[in-house]
């Protein structure tokens, strides 16, 4: 009797979970497995010719493609610029709005606002700001810097995109830091004050060490999202990767290979290479930050 209810319970649970399970398999597991298979095939959406198994040829082609290798370098350059800048600014903002400043709710909302704005809209706004005769250049010309086309110069396009990205997503990381800050017990600060610690000592000796789990989380999330960057680069640089291909990211390259060059197999292989890169990096970061995260 007892057993029967257990089975029934499992059954109910299964039925309740069914919508999720179905969508998980339909939109995640199946496409993932299929893409993995395609990465070993010469595959096309066009026509009825059955896909041909080509072994590791797609991977070889991806890894010997100069454009793809360049796109990996570009993406890392982007990540290395974005992640620290973004996290440091986010942390500073979080500490500020966590304090007892006036209108702190207003500031919190304002800083978070760009995060909920579509990256496409953000990119288009910045395209206008960074134009040769745009606002940024007009301001800079007042302090004697000659106007330049930020998005059209090989050495400036990535830093310019970085500024867009940081502006657009710093709010998200600020909020996670804020939630981390609220878990730090006040007694620690009080004790530190009794010992005569100043603001900066408190920040370095208490806040940052205790925020370690949040820092780890934010670093990983930020790294992963920057390595997968597509929208900004696609809008600003187009599928050709902007000036001299300097704005080409790995995901734009995948898109380009799949839908411009009609090469699904190589594109899938590239996607799994990107997956591998992100996976390994996350493991390294885990090692670096240590396993235990509690205090």
């Amino acid at each position: 009797m007892k057993n029967k209810t257990k089975v029934q319970e499992y059954f109910t649970a299964f039925v309740m979970l069914l919508p999720y399970i179905i969508s998980f398999f339909m939109f995640f597991a199946y496409p993932l497995a299929k893409a993995f298979i395609i990465s070993f095939q010469e595959f096309s959406f066009l026509g009825d010719t059955p896909p041909k198994f080509v072994g590791l040829l797609n991977y070889k082609e991806a890894l010997t493609s100069k454009m793809f290798l360049d796109s990996i370098v570009n993406t890392f350059y982007y990540s290395i610029l974005v992640v620290p800048t973004q996290l440091i600014i986010a942390l500073i903002l979080a500490v500020i709005v966590n304090d007892k400043v006036k209108f702190k709710d207003f500031f919190r909302t304002t800083y978070y606002l760009p995060t909920v704005t579509s990256p496409v809209a953000v990119s288009i706004i910045f395209l206008f700001l960074y134009k040769t005769d745009g606002l940024v250049n007009q301001i800079l010309s007042h302090i004697g810097i000659t106007p330049r086309n930020w998005f059209n110069e090989p050495s400036f396009v990535m830093p310019a995109i970085v500024s867009v990205a940081v502006w657009g997503s710093v709010g998200f990381y600020m909020v996670t830091f804020l939630s981390g800050l609220s878990t730090i017990p006040d007694q620690l600060y009080e004790a530190a004050e009794v010992e005569g610690a100043g603001e900066s000592t408190k920040l370095i000796k208490i806040t940052i060490p205790l925020l370690k789990p949040m820092i780890f989380f934010n670093t990983v999330v930020s790294f992963i999202s920057t390595l997968q960057m597509f929208d900004l680069s696609y809008i600003i640089g187009g599928s050709d990767g902007g000036p001299m291909g300097k704005a080409m990211t790995m995901v734009v390259m995948i898109y380009r290979t799949a839908f411009k060059e009609f090469n699904m197999g190589v594109a899938s292989a590239m996607a799994f290479i990107v997956f591998g890169i992100i996976f390994i990096l996350t493991l390294i970061q885990r090692k670096f930050f240590g396993e235990e995260m509690s205090y």
């Binding site: 066009l46 009825d48 005769d133 086309n149 090989p154 001299m244 060059e261 009609f262």
Partner: protein
Amino acid sequence: MKRLLAGLLILVFIISLSIGIAVSQKSAYATSKITLRLGAWASSPAEKKIVQNQIAAFKKLYPNVDIKLVEIVGDYNQKMQLLMASKTEPDIFYMDSMPAWQYIAKGVLEPLDYWMKKYNVKTIGYESSLLQPFIYKGKVYGLPKDYNTLVLFYNKEMFKQAGLTRPPRTWQELKDYAKKLTTGKVVGLTMNLELARIQPFAYQNGGKVFDSSKPVFTDPKALEGFKFALDLFKEGICKTPKDLGAGWVGDAFADKKAAMTIEGGWMIPFLNERKIPKDSYGIAELPAGPAGKSTMAFTVAYVMSKNSKHKPEAFKLIRFLTGEGGQKFVVEAGLALPSLKSAGVNFAKTYPERKALVDGAKYAQVYFYGLDGTKVVDVFNKAFEDYVIGKKYDLKKNIEERVKQIMK
């Protein structure tokens, strides 16, 4: 709870039943009236209007055929691949010259030769260069619906101020004019830094970029031609619209940031929209080089899906759209040039000031580089960028390197 479930089940049953009835009714209809789907990318309202008028005219001739216009928003080739993967592509649809062979080689398009013979359509009626991208291994896969050529637009007022009375006719004149017209914030010439604008210079110099089915990368004559054009950028008398802070050359020209531009006929409706008076600018053929005239033609054809269930009707629709009946609307609208030679004559009569566009068709090279088109364009575009922005002046070496990297 149980009752609710039972109720739900009954509801689902009723819904599926009614759908079933609706579907079976619909298929009963289909025997008397067929529906063709026409795939087109989302374009300007003016272009959509042409297609809608053509469809209306076709329906008058063939009342038993219903036509649904499927507008494809976003990246056309991406969406088309997905539609084909799910076998839901339209019966006939737009096909740009560039990716045409990629589709044809995969065998997703219906060869039209059989139908052309049956319904008496001859390729000779069309502007000959336009057909090339749609002929693969001797078979015709698409009939061009319209086209456009590159011409030189020039600002008459700026010309007057600089004491120039007519558009430049030679390379030397183009260079001198551009130099003369570059003053302060105005640049003499603006154009995109890409193969689709620079290529005519190669042909004007007697060079080649594409030879019947293969790209030609380092023809010395072509390189010389490229260099002439690229040096205009280098000298600062020609700039890209981006460098002028404009969205595209149309904006740069309309905002008087440049005195001349090399662009296609699609500029005209745009300039009308921007309320630029018609007599304030002129349209001329591209200046001739040492070896004569050349320009580029951009064309789009109608192609038929291999999976179409109504091939005879679909072909009749293609025949109408690319024939006298449909081309009439292309001429009237003046957006693009009619692909039919006979209609082209009418176009030149209707719009005498746009004669340069039609004249160009005689010696134009169509924007098309075979199966690896995207990669070929990439090689040249990157090498051009390297030259102008990256200051890598050994064009030949650079192109060779790029070919090694990209073409493989």
